[in-house]
C-alpha cells in the first residue's frame, strides 16, 4: 500500500482546520495543555508530600529506609533510556524512517514493561512486609527509631498513591505507544503528518519527568541508608 506522504497528510486533515500546519499546531498545543493539567494533578500529591514531610520528617526518613535504592535507580535509568528511544522514534517519524520508528517505539514499550516489572517486585516486597496502609499496616523498628508508626503510615500512603498513580500513567502510556506502533506499521504517518507520534512522545516524557522527581523525594530522603 504505497500511499504518498502528501496523500497521508491530506487524508488526515480534519475539516474544521484550514491546513495541516494549523492542525499540527493545535494538536500539539492541546497536548501541552493536557500536560499542564497532569502537572497540577500530581501537584496535589506533591503538596501533601511536602506538608507531611515537613511535619513528620523522622517518620519519612524511617519509611524511606525501606526503599530499595538500587531498584529505584535502575528504574530511573530505564525510564530515561525509554525517553531516549521515544525521542529518537519521534525523530524517525519526522524524517520518514518508518521501520526504524517502529523498532524504537517497540524498544520504548519494552523499557516500559521493564519499569513496571521492577516496580512490581518492589510492591511485592512492601506488601509482604505489611507496608501497605490500612488495618494490616505494621512497621517494626519504629519504637527503636523513636517514630510514631502512624506517621510512617502516612509516608507509605503517599508512596503507594504517588507511585501507583505514576504506574497507572505508565500503563496508559504503554497503551498509547502500542497504538502508535500499530498505526505506524500500517503506514499512517509521514514527515507531513506525524503529530500523533509527537504527542504520545510528549506524554511519555512527562511520565518520565514525574518519576525523575518521585525518585529523590521518596527514595533518597535520609543521609544514611542501607541501600
Amino acid at each position: 500500500m504505497a500511499t504518498s506522504d502528501i496523500e497521508i497528510a491530506e487524508h488526515s486533515l480534519q475539516h474544521h482546520f484550514a491546513d495541516m500546519d494549523q492542525q499540527k499546531d493545535a494538536s500539539t498545543f492541546g497536548m501541552w495543555l493536557f500536560l499542564v493539567t497532569e502537572i497540577m494533578f500530581f501537584g496535589g500529591l506533591f503538596c501533601a508530600y511536602l506538608v507531611y514531610r515537613a511535619t513528620y520528617y523522622q517518620a519519612f526518613v524511617a519509611g524511606s529506609q525501606t526503599m530499595n535504592i538500587w531498584l529505584g535507580a535502575t528504574n530511573t535509568a530505564v525510564l530515561i533510556c525509554s525517553s531516549l528511544s521515544m525521542a529518537l522514534g519521534v525523530r524517525c517519524a519526522q524524517i520518514g524512517k518508518t521501520k526504524m520508528m517502529v523498532v524504537l517505539l517497540l524498544i520504548t514499550i519494552v523499557f516500559g514493561f521493564g519499569f513496571l516489572g521492577i516496580k512490581g517486585v518492589e510492591y511485592h516486597e512492601h506488601w509482604i512486609n505489611h507496608q501497605f496502609p490500612g488495618p494490616n499496616f505494621q512497621f517494626e523498628g519504629a519504637e527503636a527509631g523513636g517514630v510514631n508508626p502512624q506517621n510512617v503510615q502516612i509516608y507509605f500512603s503517599l508512596y503507594w498513591a504517588m507511585t501507583g498513580l505514576h504506574a497507572l500513567h505508565m500503563i496508559i502510556g504503554i497503551g498509547l505507544v502500542t497504538w502508535i506502533v500499530i498505526a505506524g506499521a500500517r503506514g499512517a504517518y509521514s514527515p507531513d503528518y506525524y503529530s500523533p507520534v509527537e504527542n504520545v512522545g510528549l506524554y511519555w516524557h512527562f511520565v518520565d519527568l514525574v518519576w525523575i522527581y518521585l525518585f529523590p523525594l521518596l527514595y533518597l530522603i535520609s543521609k544514611k541508608h542501607g541501600g
Binding site: F17, A26, G30, G44, C47, G134, Q150
Partner: protein, 544 residues
C-alpha cells in the same frame, strides 16, 4: 464597515442537518453539543432546585419538623453538589461558550470536536454517578466534603458522589482545554486579540482556571475516596493526618471555581450591555485584562474559606490581604459597564433587564465578599447565613441572571425563534423580586447569628425565614416560566432573522439558526470590536 456573510439555503441549518438520535448523540458539531449540554444542565438545575425547595420548606418553622437533621444534611449537600458542579460550572461555558465561541471568532468548529463530544459524555457519566448516590440514600457531608467526616465517620454514599464529581471535573478540563486552543489557534484572519469579543476573553480566562485548578480537586477527591476505602490516614487526625490539608487542597480549586462560574457570566454581560446601549464597551482593554487578572488573583486567595478552621494567623493575614485585591478587577468591570451605559441609547429588552439585575446584585454580592475578606468580620459571620446570602447574591443574582440574560440574547440565534417578550419581562421581574426577597433577609439573619446548615433555629428568626421561603416560591415561578415559554417558542415563536438585536459580532452575520459549518467562506475581520458607531439601524443584512 461590517459585511454580512451569505449562505446557500436559508433552511439548511445545524438543527435539520440530520435527524435521529444517532445524529445527535454522535455529533461533532459544537452547536449540537451545546444543545445536549443545555438539556442536561437544565435537568440538573431543577434537581438542585428541588432540594432547595425542601430546604426552604423545612426552614419555614423554627423546629426541625419536616425532616430529620440527618436528612437535612443530605438536602443541603445535594443542593450544593448539583448546583455547583453540575449546573453553575458548566452553564455558560458548556452551553453558550460551546455554541458561540467558534462563531464569534470565525471558525468552523472548536479545535477538538471529538473531545468536545467526549466531554459531554463524561459529564453525563459523572451526573449519573451523582444522581445514583442521591437516589440511593444521598450524601450528608456538605458539598465541601470536609474530613475526617467525609473520609471516616459519614455513613452515606460519599464515594459515589465523589466519583461523580471527579468524573465531571474531566468534562470541565476538556472544555477548558478546547477553548484555549481554539481561541489561540483558530481565529479568522483579522480577528486579533484586541478585536476579540469580551465573551471570548472571559471564557478564555475561565478556561485557564479550569485547566489549572480542576486537577487539584480531582486528586483531592480521589484521596478522599482512597481514604474511605483503605482507611489510610492522610486527612484523619486520629491517624496523624491533617484535615486542614484537605481544606487547602480542596479550596485551591474551589475558590477559583467560583471565578470559573462568574467570568463567563461577566462575558455575557459585556456583550449585552454594549448591544443594548449601542455603544462600544468603555475601556475594552481594561475589561479584557481584568478577566485575566481575576483568573490569576483568584488562585491566591483560597484560605479565606479557612480563617476559623485553624490555620496560622499569619497565613490568614496574607490571604485576607490577597482577598481584598481580587475585588479590584471585578470592580473595574462594574465601573466599565456603567460607563458604557452612560450616554448610551438604551433599550430595555429582556436580556438588558437581566443585565441590569446582574450589575446591581453582583455588586451587592461582591461587596459583601469584601466584608468577608476582613478577618474580624469573618470571625463573626462565618458559617452563618451571611455567607450563604453572599454567595447566593454572586452566584444566583450574578451568575444565574447572566445565564438567563445570555439565553434570551442568543436564543434567536440558537433556535431561529424569538421568545415572547411580555412573558420574558414578567419572568425577569419575578426572578429579581423573588431573589431579593429570598436572600436579602439572609444577610440580616446571618448577622444576627443564625448558623448555616442547621435545620432548626431559634424562634426569633422565624419571620425572616418565612420571608425568605416566600421569596423562593416567587423565584421558582420566575424560573419555571422561561422553561415553558422557551419550549413554546420552538414551535410558535416568531421566526428571527440573522440579527434581531442589530448587534455587532460575527455570530450575528450567520443565519439563525446557523448552518452546520458556520461560515461558507472564512470571514475576514476588518472592523474593531463593538463597532456600533458604524452599525446601521436597519435589520436586513444582505450582500457578501
Amino acid at each position: 464597515m461590517a459585511t454580512a456573510v451569505q449562505t446557500t439555503v436559508e433552511t439548511d441549518n445545524y438543527l435539520n442537518n440530520g435527524y435521529g438520535l444517532k445524529s445527535w448523540l454522535l455529533t461533532k458539531d459544537h452547536k449540537r453539543i451545546a444543545i445536549l449540554y443545555l438539556i442536561s444542565i437544565t435537568a440538573m438545575f431543577f434537581v438542585g432546585g428541588f432540594f432547595a425547595m425542601l430546604i426552604r420548606l423545612e426552614l419555614l418553622t423554627p423546629a426541625g419538623d419536616l425532616v430529620s437533621s440527618d436528612t437535612y444534611n443530605k438536602l443541603f449537600t445535594m443542593h450544593g453538589i448539583s448546583m455547583i458542579f453540575f449546573f453553575l460550572i458548566p452553564s455558560v461555558p458548556a452551553v453558550l461558550g460551546n455554541f458561540l465561541i467558534p462563531l464569534m471568532i470565525g471558525a468552523k468548529d472548536l479545535a477538538f470536536p471529538r473531545l468536545n463530544l467526549a466531554s459531554w459524555y463524561i459529564y453525563m457519566i459523572g451526573a449519573i454517578f451523582a444522581l445514583v448516590s442521591m437516589i440511593s440514600g444521598g450524601v450528608d457531608t456538605g458539598w465541601t466534603f470536609y474530613t475526617p467526616f467525609s473520609t471516616t465517620y459519614s455513613n452515606t454514599h460519599v464515594i459515589g458522589a465523589a466519583l461523580g464529581i471527579f468524573i465531571a471535573g474531566f468534562a470541565s478540563i476538556f472544555t477548558g482545554l478546547n477553548f484555549i486552543v481554539t481561541i489561540h489557534r483558530m481565529r479568522a484572519p483579522g480577528m486579533t486579540w484586541t478585536r476579540l469579543p469580551l465573551f471570548c476573553w472571559s471564557n478564555y480566562a475561565a478556561s485557564i482556571i479550569m485547566v489549572l485548578g480542576t486537577p487539584v480537586v480531582a486528586i483531592t477527591i480521589l484521596l478522599v475516596a482512597l481514604e474511605r476505602l483503605f482507611h489510610i490516614g492522610v486527612f484523619n487526625p486520629a491517624l496523624g493526618g491533617d484535615p486542614l490539608l484537605f481544606q487547602h487542597l480542596f479550596w485551591f480549586y474551589s475558590h477559583p471555581a467560583v471565578y470559573i462560574m462568574i467570568l463567563p457570566g461577566m462575558g455575557v454581560i459585556s456583550e449585552i450591555v454594549t448591544c443594548f446601549s449601542r455603544k462600544r464597551v468603555f475601556g475594552y482593554e481594561f475589561v479584557a485584562l481584568a478577566s485575566i487578572a481575576i483568573a490569576v488573583l483568584g488562585f491566591l486567595v483560597w484560605a479565606h474559606h479557612m480563617f476559623v478552621a485553624g490555620i496560622s494567623v499569619y497565613a490568614a493575614l496574607v490571604f485576607s490581604l490577597l482577598s481584598y485585591l481580587v475585588a479590584i478587577p471585578s470592580a473595574v468591570k462594574v465601573f466599565n459597564w456603567t460607563a458604557t451605559l452612560y450616554k448610551g441609547s438604551i433599550r430595555y429588552d429582556t436580556p438588558m433587564l437581566y443585565a441590569f439585575g446582574f450589575i446591581g446584585l453582583f455588586t451587592v454580592g461582591g461587596l459583601t465578599g469584601v466584608f468577608l475578606a476582613s478577618l474580624g468580620v469573618d470571625v463573626h459571620v462565618t458559617d452563618t447565613y451571611f455567607v450563604v446570602a453572599h454567595f447566593h447574591y454572586v452566584m444566583v443574582g450574578g451568575m444565574v441572571l447572566a445565564y438567563m440574560a445570555g439565553l434570551h440574547f442568543w436564543w434567536p440565534k440558537i433556535t431561529g425563534r424569538m421568545y415572547p417578550e411580555g412573558w420574558a419581562k414578567l419572568s425577569a421581574l419575578l426572578v429579581f423580586v423573588g431573589f431579593n426577597l429570598t436572600f436579602f433577609p439572609q444577610f440580616i439573619l446571618g448577622y444576627m447569628g443564625m448558623p448555616r446548615r442547621y435545620h432548626a433555629y431559634p424562634p426569633e428568626f422565624q419571620v425572616l425565614n418565612v420571608l425568605s421561603t416566600a421569596g423562593s416560591s416567587v423565584l421558582a415561578v420566575g424560573y419555571v416560566l422561561p422553561m415553558i415559554y422557551f419550549l413554546w417558542s420552538l414551535r410558535y415563536g416568531k421566526p428571527a432573522g440573522p440579527n434581531p438585536w442589530n448587534a455587532v459580532g460575527l455570530e450575528w452575520m450567520t443565519p439563525s439558526p446557523p448552518p452546520t459549518h458556520n461560515f461558507d467562506e472564512t470571514p475576514v475581520v476588518t472592523w474593531e470590536a463593538y463597532d456600533y458607531e458604524h452599525q446601521p439601524e436597519e435589520e436586513v443584512r444582505v450582500g457578501h
